[in-house]
Amino acid sequence: MIKPAHIHSSLRGDNALPLRPASQVMDLERLGAMHQSRLSFMRSLMRKVMLERWQIVLSCCDLDEKGHGTVVYQISAPYGVYSFVLFSNWLDPEQRNDRVIAEQWDLTMALVAGKVDDHYLETLRKNVPKQEAGRVDSRVFVLSRANRSLRNFDYVVDTLAAGEQPDVQKIEQVGYLYRTTAVYGSGKLGMADWEKVQSRWPDFARPFSAEMFTCFMLRNFSLLQVEHIARHQSPDTFSPMDITIKRYVGIGNSTGLGMAPFLIHHPLLFNQWIEMRELALARVRVLGAVDSTIKKRFRKLLDRTTHHTRQTKTEDPWQSDHNIQVIKDLKALHKQSSQPFTRWGQLILWSEKNCSLQGQELLVSVLLELYPELVNKLEDYCSAEEFLDLDPIMPLQTLQTVIEDRYDWALTMDFIADGARDIFWYRSEEKMEPRLGDALKEKGKDRQMALGVGYAVRKCYDQLLDYISEFPDHNTARFMVARPKLRGIVRRIQSMNRCLYGDIQANLLHRDVLPMHLLRAKLSFFGVSKFDPKSRLWVRNTMFQGAPLLEDIGGTFDDDWFMPLSPEYRSDETIAITSTKTTKHTEEVAAL
């Protein structure tokens, strides 16, 4: 068990562990190169569900032969009983749209506290399928919707109906039957606030655990539904899906720009996630014993990660190139790890000189995987209250030094340069969807969201220097009375200075900014895999692939679903390239 005092002394003071510096970790491109790990929220959730042996039973299954209707699962966890309520409706293919602005979906869902009676079910039925156009009450704490994967759903149903098993290579291509397009929590649309979830329902008191659980339940329903439809389609020939293939089916996710403002608006929370990940790495560096057994396991995980990357399909040239590089990096790491070494720090330093950012960050994830006893318990410290407090007594010269030390990255940026402020982030009147605008061509810059932290720091610094020359003895409180427009950025600077990692180091207003990095950073903490960018503004990915199924709860649990492989690899984790060579990228990847 790790106590707060232990964490504090590991992060700060004379006995602090060797942490990577903020200048390295908070670089946007590196954040966008991070991968799922043992500390990711999906992994954390599954440990909880499996170790506490949650009981999840189907309490209502009212589906027609096409799989349309209502389903309710009842969940009994240590601190409470909950219901997962799902409505499946026929959807005109013309209406199928992953964007926030969609108005109809194949499935809509709600996670609700307590048992659901008929009366309450009717209330939910009237509202949940409408999503943003409906209202729910504070018994509901997650609301979500999903669309079928056109590439897989009917194929899997037909295959099972014919008494056959789906071709694993097809599941490799698209590892899911449904794709979530939004997962809402934290008080939206009348739902329970996070404050209520955290204090009243401890089973879901970790960040995003209720949202992740909803996706997990959707994945289980998707497997139930394809079997249900196939059974009705052909009762005589139907056969259920092989359980190893079932485990390989995840849930798809489409993520757009909405995640980017979240990270900027919750800097203390994001810093906390980073601190725990970096602390985990530092613990492994210092405390992780390196012997032949652990080296063997390490190389096995490198192999698994290599195959997982080979099985990641994307048509995006940027992502393809990076995947190819990652495979090269993993091969080089494998070779390097056969040289004698006694500390993981040696391999980390080597990777920083010889591997891509994605390769380096993948090494971090693999190292965390090796030492559950050093890493897992940090999952209890991934929450933070978002108090951005002003330090009113701070002398202005100290504030100046803080900016020069902690925001040197912002001070070295040229905000006058061509392209430096060409982008603006805004909310559209269409469902308040977050969007990016070109300041030179589009209207709306006057209503932009305040995401340009670097530029705000620069402006603050310039005004601060002028003020100091006039009033050198004033403190921050006095400065704030005179310059109230700077209050937001000053208290952010002071608050982030109290953190180890602080703000994301990037100019989000630059013409060439890649919001994809922000999305990937957050998604890696969720624990997704198989990034498949559809533009620089949104990405498809896969959740819960390889995770235990409902029927696995109560059985043995090895917590070993990192970088999941298709069943044919999983059996012995040997190298066997069998993927269909349909694109140049696939051929290149397979050749490595």
Binding site: R99, R135, D137, S138, G187, K188, G190, M191, A192, D193, W194, E195, K196, S199, R200, G256, L257, F387, D389, L390, P392, I393, Y426, R427, S428, E429, E430, M432, E433, P434, R435, L436, G437, D438, E442, K443, G444, R447, A450, A456, N475, T476, A477, R478, M480, V481, A482, P484, K485, L486, R487, G488, I489, V490, R491, R492, K534, S535, L537, W538
Partner: protein, 249 residues
């Protein structure tokens, strides 16, 4: 209708942002309203009184320190709402208290002063004790005080209606803030024949009110909710084909 605290906060942030409040300030203002409402102290009723005027503050001059020594200061808020200026006054009191142990800040020409309670609470959480006193109204005069102990999460609050309209002309929309890093300050209005009715909410009662809001959300008048959202809609950018491209379609 019933809304969540998060919905109210998000809508208020848009509302204040659209009203010309600057970054940092619109979050403060939203939190001040939400804090009062969530703790059973009628934040939405106070907001209704302020709503017609919130856009006019952008034309007013900024607050100014008109007098200052090591233990005290006088700030002229130029007729602004406490929603956009009182936090700085509390910061100044806080800073002086840390420097000299106890400080007094007098604020003039400041409206909607009840919103100070959120700023007081932030001080308490951070280990500083604070008290505030003010009067309000001209025909019906009310008297208010709130205080929080160092390290506490909730303040106490008292209010009274004066039994006869006093000559309040000299009041200047003032407030007195006393802040200490050494002494725990606790205030309540004295029993007085001048009071027609009084109420006192202990820190425990304030905490209990919060628990109710956490469990059940916030009750809001439909018209006010529409009003807040329609002001906030001014920060939304109109839709266009080009704009849709900016979402990555």
């Amino acid at each position: 209708m019933i809304i969540s605290m998060n919905e109210l906060k998000a809508a208020l942030r848009r509302c204040f942002e659209a009203s010309g409040y600057f970054v940092g300030n619109y979050e403060d203002a939203a939190n001040m309203v939400l804090w009062l409402e969530k703790h059973g102290l009628n934040g939405l009723k106070e907001l209704e009184l302020a709503l017609d005027y919130i856009k006019s503050d952008r034309k007013k001059t900024m607050s100014k320190v008109v007098y200052e020594d090591s233990t005290s200061a006088i700030i002229n808020c130029s007729g602004r709402s406490a929603l956009n200026c009182i936090a700085s006054a509390v910061d100044l009191a806080h800073a002086k208290a840390l420097e000299v142990g106890i400080s007094t800040i007098t604020v003039h020409n400041c409206h909607n002063r009840k919103f100070i309670l959120k700023a007081l609470t932030d001080c308490g959480r951070r280990g500083i004790s604070v008290a505030a006193y003010w009067q309000n109204g001209s025909t019906t005069v009310t008297e208010h005080t709130a205080s929080i102990r160092a390290g506490a999460r909730y303040p106490s609050y008292s209010e009274s209606i004066m039994s006869s309209p006093a000559d309040n002309a000299s009041d200047k929309q003032s407030m007195t803030i006393i802040c200490s890093s050494r002494v725990d300050i606790s205030t309540s209005l004295q029993h007085s024949s001048l009071h027609r009715s009084s109420r006192y909410l202990s820190a425990e009662q304030v905490a209990a009110n919060k628990e109710n809001s956490v469990d059940h959300g916030i009750q809001i008048d439909d018209t006010l909710w529409v009003n807040i959202n329609s002001i906030g809609a001014e920060i939304l950018v109109e839709n266009s084909e080009q704009s849709r491209q900016g979402a990555g379609a």
